[in-house]
Symmetry: D2
Subunit: 140 residues, 4 copies
């Protein structure tokens, strides 16, 4: 796999207003989290105890959708709407925390839930770092 997120940011004809490394990290973690959540929902569905994993599946599917949207919104820098970026980052941070909490409840029983929770925590951290930078810029 060759993610080209950083190269695409570097070659963009527009001036990127956010820290490029924090931004690329957040895009990539959102994509990784969307994939982990999609795969975790699928793995939960295959478990014998699927009846006990319904909330985990529903939460995974929602978090996958939110993270996919986040990766897309963060990939657009041509005359962007700063409010839109903040709205999406805040939703992604909150969704990843919910999903991490849900998956952590089964992490000792299902390795896919442990891996998914870790991906959610990394994505939440990357969203928080970007939100912190946006807040710091606003103070300058």
């Amino acid at each position: 796999m060759t993610m080209v997120t950083r190269e695409m940011l570097r070659d963009s004809p527009v001036e990127i207003l956010l820290d490029e490394e924090a931004l690329a990290c957040c895009i990539d973690e959102a994509l990784a989290c969307a994939q982990a959540c999609t795969a975790c929902a699928d793995a939960c569905l295959a478990e014998d105890a699927v009846e006990q994993l319904r909330r985990c599946i529903t939460t995974d599917l929602g978090c996958a959708d939110v993270c996919a949207t986040t990766a897309r919104v963060l990939s657009r820098h041509t005359d962007p709407n700063p409010a839109m970026v903040r709205i999406v980052l805040e939703a992604c941070l909150a969704a990843c925390r919910e999903c991490a909490e849900e998956c952590e409840a089964h992490a000792d029983m299902h390795d896919h839930c442990r891996l998914c929770a870790e991906a959610c925590r990394r994505c939440a951290k990357a969203c928080q770092a970007l939100l912190d930078e946006i807040a710091a810029q606003a103070l300058r």
Copy 2:
């Protein structure tokens, strides 16, 4: 076109915790808004004055992604995570308001921006109605 949103809610084996009419309305408006925003971005791209419509295109594309995610999350009721529903509704309300404001700025010049702004306002209203109901339920 035959939307089956209401029938699907009625035939669901789970008890839907929200008002079914408000919920179906919000799902359908989110789908309609996602389509309108996708089409408005495309129409803006075709305009002679595309250089002046860059922010409108970027905002449309973001709003389309958020609305599509919202329609999906609101279509899942099996052991749902109430926080996830609220997170997504709040993001959708805010994104639709941003996009409506942007499109309204060109509504007198471009009919597609006028139609898109109207779709965003209807979706925002449907999100607000559902959020109000969730807040009222929490007080009961």
Copy 3:
């Protein structure tokens, strides 16, 4: 709900190369089918017999993704790539047929599967009509 698909096509600054009614019908059926498939996967997950509905859930989720992509691609007419439109329509036709067949196998037991199968058949028919028109245009 106020779908504005037809108005958006009418107000587009580009000349639409396909029959606008067939096109609007296909966009709307793809959106309706994506919603029905998302809701059917959710309803299947809630059934007591969820273990017997795993293939139906997996197929529903795939069909929902394909239909959502189709609605988006068909909403873009600014200097479009005709091959891309055909590729997506053919995939959507085939995916909807697979999902209809799967859901029809449980249609007498689960009303949500019956409704979902009907939505898939309508979407497949709309894709076929658009593909037929594209083929007829190529012969002119």
Copy 4:
């Protein structure tokens, strides 16, 4: 960034019927290609010569949607529908070839088009490898 595609496949409770390395490669390339296409559409929109890049933007947006759908469908292995997997892989292969061809036409002028074309070619190659394996399995 920590993609967990391989770990998720390894920890799945279901037996994966496809070669895990070819599958993980295809999922990751589809995600990388979706990101590159989204970013290329955004970069094209910012160029002075945006009027000449309309077809590139429309093709990028379509390819991004198809690749995102592919990554999701390939991440589901619980009682999968083999036809659905093949339908999506064939569409993704064809879409990536169209987009690569379009972007290659501007690759000497715009580095983002060169990078995007390369991502499309890698994704097409990964789809072809998986389709070849599926065909070989059918002969066994």
